[in-house]
């Protein structure tokens, strides 16, 4: 298998003077079409790592590349879904998505085709009916779905999700996970997702990357999720493979990386 996204000894230090060492020498490679989750305690640097891949930060040391090209800044080849949806409140859902679409496709497509692309993205998350609503008029789960549609509509090479369902209730979360799996299968996207939910990580991922506590967080262990797809949320929980994955994740998070409260 070819390496699609590769991180080579990536370190991140924040601040010119304070020198907060967040990430230490992270190496990771992600294959095309793979779904990788990052899991770890709050504040360990998951968002930082995702933002590095997005190009919002430049690593203090090390190299990040996508299809052999070094990542030097943010770009529409990587679609990002933020931890807090970040929809622009003064635009309708449709226009929020169109903003990116018209930036990426303006040279290739006419207006009508771009609008159709937006509609397709909304249909993908089953929100065609909310196209002309403003973000404050829709629920939290719907906002998160618009956020996903916005990231998908620009047809990125890799989808970066930062706790996309973190703020949602368990039921909404489950249905959005199902939806995400379908979308990923349809679009054959490569995905890197941050989560702090063990079940979510197992259900969605091919591999789960466990990060040690900060400062200077590293990759602690990597778990291959050997559960065949399509996965069934209920049936899956009865298998021994599932139990083993769960045990390893919990062991890592609550024994090896038990949080010391200051």
């Amino acid at each position: 298998m070819e390496t699609f996204l590769s991180l080579n000894k990536v370190s991140m230090t924040f601040g010119e003077r304070t020198k907060f060492h967040a990430l230490d020498s992270i190496s990771l490679s992600v294959e095309r079409g793979e779904f990788v989750s990052l899991i770890g305690h709050s504040g360990c640097g998951k968002s930082t790592l995702l933002n590095l891949i997005a190009g919002l930060y430049r690593p203090s040391a090390g190299l990040i590349s996508c299809e052999g090209q070094q990542i030097l800044g943010p770009g529409p080849d990587r679609g990002v879904v933020f931890q807090n949806h970040s929809l622009l409140p003064w635009m309708t859902c449709h226009d929020n998505i169109l903003l990116g679409v018209s930036q990426v496709f303006a040279a290739r497509l006419d207006k009508g085709a771009m609008r159709r692309k937006v509609d397709q993205a909304l249909d993908l998350v089953h929100l065609g009916h909310a196209a002309n609503k403003y973000p404050h008029e829709i629920s939290g789960g719907m906002k998160q779905r618009v956020g996903i549609a916005r990231a998908l509509a620009i047809e990125p090479r890799v989808l970066l999700l930062d706790e996309p369902f973190g703020a949602l209730d368990a039921l909404t979360r489950a249905s959005l996970q199902d939806e995400l799996i379908k979308i990923v299968e349809q679009t054959r996207s490569t995905v890197v997702m941050v989560t702090h939910d063990v079940d979510e990580a197992i259900f969605l991922s091919d591999r789960v990357v466990m990060m040690t506590n900060g400062p200077a967080a590293k990759i602690g262990e990597v778990l291959e999720v050997d559960i065949p797809r399509p996965r069934d949320r209920l049936e899956m929980t009865t298998t021994s493979a599932y139990a083993e994955c769960r045990r390893r994740l919990l062991e890592f998070l609550y024994l090896k990386q038990a949080v010391v409260r200051h």
């Binding site: 190009g55 919002l56 807090n84 970040s86 622009l88 409140p89 930036q103 990426v104 404050h136």
Partner: protein, 301 residues
């Protein structure tokens, strides 16, 4: 004995409860309280002015006949609410009269004042909003201009007045310049703060979508800054309306500030009070209008 003893406090409690609930239902309708305050204000005013000695409303003809003596004694006493109301009716009845340029109707005075305010204010908006945007988006520009802003901002607009009169040679233009100057700073500072303080999340959206700078400014920074810009506009219109009255007292041939000063020279205290009330009401309307526009144009979350 025992019975009355136990009965009395409970009755008092019930009464107290009734009183409290009565008070409650009144406080739930704030306009009732407002009305009560207004009536109380009028009666106190009436009481103070009617016992305050002598005639409350001095007949202008009579005052003229009596010359200065009247001005010194009874004429300077504050008129009562009835006299002011009568005067308001008189002023209202010839509000639109422009036959005598030395004795314009009150509408025309307000018209000239508002005209100056809008001209100076519009000029300030045209200058301050783009400049504020530039300052907010370009830290080097902010650092370069900040010393000047900080020194110019605390200067009372009226301090510019003689210089403006000398430089501009025309009192109406000078007044507009004063309004311009005093409206400029809140607009400039608020716009800059709005443009500089756009939420990092939204800027990150612009980055990851790879938006062009022009798209970013028009579609993200500007809408995000609109609430702050409108706050600046609201503060500025309030200050401008403050300042125009003072400015017209100094330079005017017309305008509501000139009107008050002129009526003071004529010892027409009732007219002054009517004008003061009008200034308050118009200021309120201007403020509410901008608040409404602000609410319409600002995004909701």
């Amino acid at each position: 004995m025992i019975q009355t003893n136990t009965y009395a406090p409970s009755a008092a409690r019930t009464n107290g409860k009734l009183l409290l609930s009565g008070l409650h239902s009144v406080v739930n309708r704030p306009w009732v309280v407002s009305l009560a305050i207004f009536v109380a204000f009028l009666s106190i005013w009436q009481a103070l002015t009617s016992t305050g000695g002598g005639e409350t409303s001095v007949d202008p003809e009579y005052a003229k006949l009596m010359g200065q003596a009247v001005g010194v004694t009874t004429g300077s006493s504050i008129p009562g609410p009835m006299a002011v109301a009568r005067r308001a009716m008189e002023l209202g009845s010839r509000a639109f009269d422009s036959s005598n340029p030395n004795n314009l109707g009150i509408f025309w005075h307000l018209y000239y004042s508002l005209g100056r305010v809008f001209l100076g204010y519009a000029l300030a908006v045209v200058v301050a909003v783009p400049l504020g945007f530039g300052i907010g988006l370009m830290p080097w520009l902010y650092q370069a201009l900040n010393p000047f802003i900080q020194v110019l901002k605390p200067i009372s607009p009226l301090a510019w007045m003689p210089l403006a009169l000398y430089g501009l040679k025309d009192s109406a233009t000078a007044a507009i310049f004063i309004i311009f100057i005093c409206s400029l700073w809140p607009l400039l500072i608020n716009t800059a703060a709005g443009a500089a303080g756009v939420r990092q999340d939204w800027l990150n959206v612009a980055k990851v979508l790879g938006l062009k700078t022009s798209t970013k400014v028009l579609r993200i920074v500007f809408p995000a800054a609109v609430p702050m810009i409108l706050t600046g506009m609201r503060i500025s219109i309030g200050i401008a309306w403050f300042v125009i009255v003072a400015a017209e007292m100094v330079v005017g041939q017309n305008g509501i500030g000139y009107f008050i000063w002129n009526e003071w020279n004529n010892l027409q205290l009732s007219s002054m009070i009517v004008a003061i009330g009008l200034i308050g009401i118009i200021g309120f309307v201007l403020d509410q209008a901008l608040a409404w526009v602000g609410q319409k144009l600002s995004f909701k979350e």
